[in-house]
């Protein structure tokens, strides 16, 4: 009823090929973006910014990067945490070692360094596939964990192995308050999402998907697997590296290699699997699920307990939190193995017919 396409005729190729060909979609997404930029800073308090929204935005960006590689190109990676770390430490080093380096340039250079590292560690994908590739990328995780813990140069000889940066500045705008940080991350995320969406609809994205669906067939129709796979690794690592730089410099301010441990790699992979592989929106759903749900459960359980007059100890809360979280993952994977993004698109299909389904 509200969501019908009857009477919407496209009269040009341009209209047919835009990102959101249906006006309803276009307006809703635009409204969400405007709300995120204008509405949320007016409504939300510091806690939500710092504990939920900023981590959500940055991890969405990282999940987007992982999704390009895993969801669009079909190359499983367990090294995302390492590429985040490379991005973070590279941008840190650019910032402190090159005088007068603008922060934004340092972040982007961190992403480019991660892209270069991604190409190197993506090279095994030319020979091995699937789970074997996952194990090969695990090497990246272990190597970089080791490097940032042991090689003093990367951490500027910090005695504890932890590095810290001052507030970053962007064309005279000092990013220090949570609102600034939020807007900065949001801006980057919106730009990068737009870029990702256009990449995956373009020639290179089609090559990635062809490789994912069947690499032999893709080779036969003239797609170069080396170029396609390594470009996916590069683009993905660039995204993940930028996310890592933001995580370190904007969100944490001071960090240690443990912030990018193997747990982070798993977390990012799970975001993509739960959110939806091969869907840009899936990255956002997955990040929301993994970042927000545990905190939400953690705060809800004592409230639920107090409804029934029970005092719930914090140990019990975190045990229940882990159990419920695990159960929900299983639930979502059973109900919709293609991820929450697929649930969303199923819902949209139903809305088109509602209230008169056949």
């Amino acid at each position: 009823m509200f969501y019908r396409e009857n009477g919407q005729f496209k009269t040009s190729y341009k209209a047919d090929q835009q990102i959101f060909p249906i006006p309803q979609d276009r307006w809703v997404i635009l409204a969400i973006v405007v709300f995120a930029f204008v509405g949320i800073p007016l409504l939300v308090d510091e806690y939500l910014f710092r504990a939920i929204l900023i981590p959500f935005l940055i991890l969405s960006l990282a999940a987007l990067g992982v999704n390009i590689l895993v969801g669009y190109c079909g190359q499983i990676t367990l090294g995302a945490g390492a590429f985040m770390a490379v991005g973070a430490y590279a941008s840190y080093n650019f910032l402190i070692r090159v005088s007068g380096m603008p922060a934004l340039a340092a972040i982007l250079l961190g992403g480019l360094t991660a892209a270069a590292v991604g190409i190197v560690f993506g090279a095994p994908s030319l020979r091995v596939r699937g789970l074997y590739l996952a194990v090969a990328t695990l090497a990246a995780q272990f190597f970089w964990d080791w490097a940032f813990l042991r090689i003093k140069w990367f951490t500027n000889d910090s005695s504890s192995g932890s590095v810290s940066v001052a507030d970053i500045e962007l064309f005279g705008w000092t990013i220090s308050t949570p609102t600034d940080k939020y807007l900065f991350c949001l801006g980057i995320l919106v730009l990068f999402s737009l870029m990702a969406k256009n990449l995956v609809r373009g020639s290179i994205g089609r090559q990635w998907m062809a490789i994912r669906d069947m690499d032999v067939a893709a080779t036969v129709i003239g797609i170069r697997p080396m170029y396609a796979k390594l470009s996916a690794f590069a683009v993905s690592s660039f995204y993940v590296g930028v996310a890592g730089a933001l995580w370190g410099m904007v969100h944490l301010g001071s960090w240690e290699p443990a912030a990018f441990s193997i747990d982070r790699s798993f977390q990012l992979l799970f975001m993509v699997i739960i959110g939806g592989m091969g869907a840009i929106a899936g990255s956002f759903f997955g990040a929301a699920f993994i970042v927000i749900l545990p905190i939400f459960l953690n705060q809800m359980l004592p409230l639920v307990g107090s409804l029934f007059g029970l005092e719930v100890s914090i140990a019990l809360v975190s045990h229940v939190e882990i159990m419920v979280f695990g159960a929900l993952i299983v639930f979502f994977l059973i109900v919709e193995p293609h991820g929450i993004a697929r649930l969303w698109s199923t819902g949209r299909e139903k809305l088109r017919l509602w209230p008169f389904p056949h």
Binding site: Y47, S159, G161, V165, I314, A315, T346
Partner: protein, 444 residues
């Protein structure tokens, strides 16, 4: 899944979330709120729980004693599981509640590093009694960090002094081999800078043996120890890593009496399960050890546990980590008292006023005795420039059943510590573009 079910589920979740986040923030004006970042789950829970119990018990005891000039302590726990990101989330969640947190004690070096960035903005002091960044002793750069009564550099320094004494002088350390088995995190790495400094001074050989989190896999480390045969092993572990290290030492036949742990590696949970195997194992005591006979412990038992109001099991009261929590809590309560002396008795103390209190903490022996801490600890006196306040420690040894003190008091050597603190803090100030506080600034 049907669409309407999904919509219903989503709206329930949305309502719940908004309810959770807009919980009412009613508080009485004279109450002091302290967030408790505890960890009662995960690999470090056996060590985190007694600390939290002691910490909360002292606040309960303060309230039972009538509060600070009538002002009551209130607190709320949040589970961090020793994870930095969860710790930061807990801090953000609690810092604004009940009129704002007075001070925060994260009990994790990783969380301390993260909160150090936030403290000057939020104006909430970060108290890290016996942990955290060692250079934060320099109050002119780290205006909001308080590593009260002990830093890792001070601890490492005392350990070196102790073995020098055992060997018969610092000159006898030349050519000796010391191995540092450490938790591979900012916590474990903290002492390295000082030990390297000392190694240079006295000519002993320092080997660094990192152990990955959570520390249950140490076979390779102890194989190296068996090959190198160091004269002493320093242990910088936490949680399950400590027991594992002692068990591995037993398995490789490394003498336990040549092993020295930091104060976080010298409590009951670390040795109890090893029992006789840990006999002779030494650890640094951060002033206090296990204190079942202290007056304050008896008071806790009598006023709280006898009435069923205690936190955690009764047997834990007086154990090493319980005492650490108790003392950490006492220091902050006393700082509130100092701040109230200046800003109005019985009034609510803000984070900024609390900082003043922490910088003017002066607990002499008489005050400590009155609080029931006679024999437990030595006087503490902080200042704007020295946020540690006391550099005393001693060694205690496990006899298979309990911890006994086996050394006299040592004091961290200012001549070694101070230059390192000043230069490292200076480097941090440079990185973060911080201007050192002046004497004028300190008076505020």
């Amino acid at each position: 899944m049907k669409l309407h079910k999904l919509l219903v589920a989503a709206s329930i979740a949305a309502i719940g979330l908004s309810a959770a986040l807009t919980a009412p923030a009613a508080y009485a004006a004279e109450e002091q709120f302290f967030p408790v970042l505890a960890y009662r789950t995960g690999a470090y829970a056996p060590n985190g729980a007694p600390w939290a119990n002691g910490f909360v018990d002292y606040m309960k005891l303060t309230n039972a004693r009538g509060g600070v000039n009538g002002g009551k302590m209130i607190w709320e726990e949040c589970e961090t599981a020793y994870a930095t990101d969860r710790g930061v989330e807990c801090y953000e969640r609690l810092k604004g509640k009940h009129g704002g947190a007075t001070a925060v004690q994260p009990l994790s070096t990783g969380i301390t590093f993260a909160l150090t960035e936030k403290a000057p903005v939020d104006k909430i002091p970060v108290i890290t009694a016996g942990y955290g960044r060692s250079e934060s002793q320099d109050g002119s750069v780290f205006g909001w960090n308080f590593p009260l009564i002990g830093t890792y550099w001070m601890g490492a320094d005392v350990l070196v002094q102790h073995i020098a004494k055992k060997e018969g002088g610092f000159d006898k350390l030349k050519g000796k081999k010391i191995a540092l088995v450490y938790h591979d995190s900012p916590y474990g790495k903290e002492p390295i800078a000082l030990l390297q400094e000392r190694a240079k001074m006295h000519g002993f050989e320092l080997s660094l043996l990192p152990v990955a989190h959570p520390g249950v896999e140490q076979k390779a480390t102890w194989l190296q120890i068996r090959q190198n045969k160091p004269d002493y092993v320093f242990l910088w572990g936490w949680g399950v890593m400590n027991q594992t290290a002692i068990k591995e030492a037993q398995a490789t036949g490394y003498p336990r009496d040549k092993m020295y742990g930091i104060w976080w590696s010298g409590a009951e949970p670390d040795v109890k399960d090893v029992g006789d195997g840990a006999k002779g194992y030494n650890a640094l005591a951060m002033q206090h050890g296990a204190e079942p006979n202290a007056k304050v412990v008896k008071e806790v038992l009598e006023k709280l546990h006898a009435k069923g109001q205690g936190t955690g099991p009764k047997e834990e009261v007086g154990q090493v980590l319980y005492m650490r929590g108790l003392i950490s809590s006492m220091l902050q309560v006393e700082a509130v008292r100092v701040a109230q002396d200046r800003y109005g008795k019985g009034k609510h103390i803000t984070g900024e006023q609390m900082r003043w209190g922490l910088e003017h903490l002066d607990l002499d022996q008489k005050k400590l005795d009155a609080l029931g801490f006679a024999g437990v600890m030595r006087p503490v006196k902080t200042s704007c420039l020295d946020h540690m306040g006391s550099a005393w420690a001693r060694i205690h040894t496990w006899d298979g059943k309990k911890w006994n003190f086996t050394s006299d008091w040592y004091q961290g050597d200012e001549k070694v510590l101070r230059p390192l603190v000043i230069s490292t803090a200076g480097k941090y100030a440079e990185e973060k573009k911080i201007v050192r506080r002046t004497a004028e600034d300190c008076k505020k």
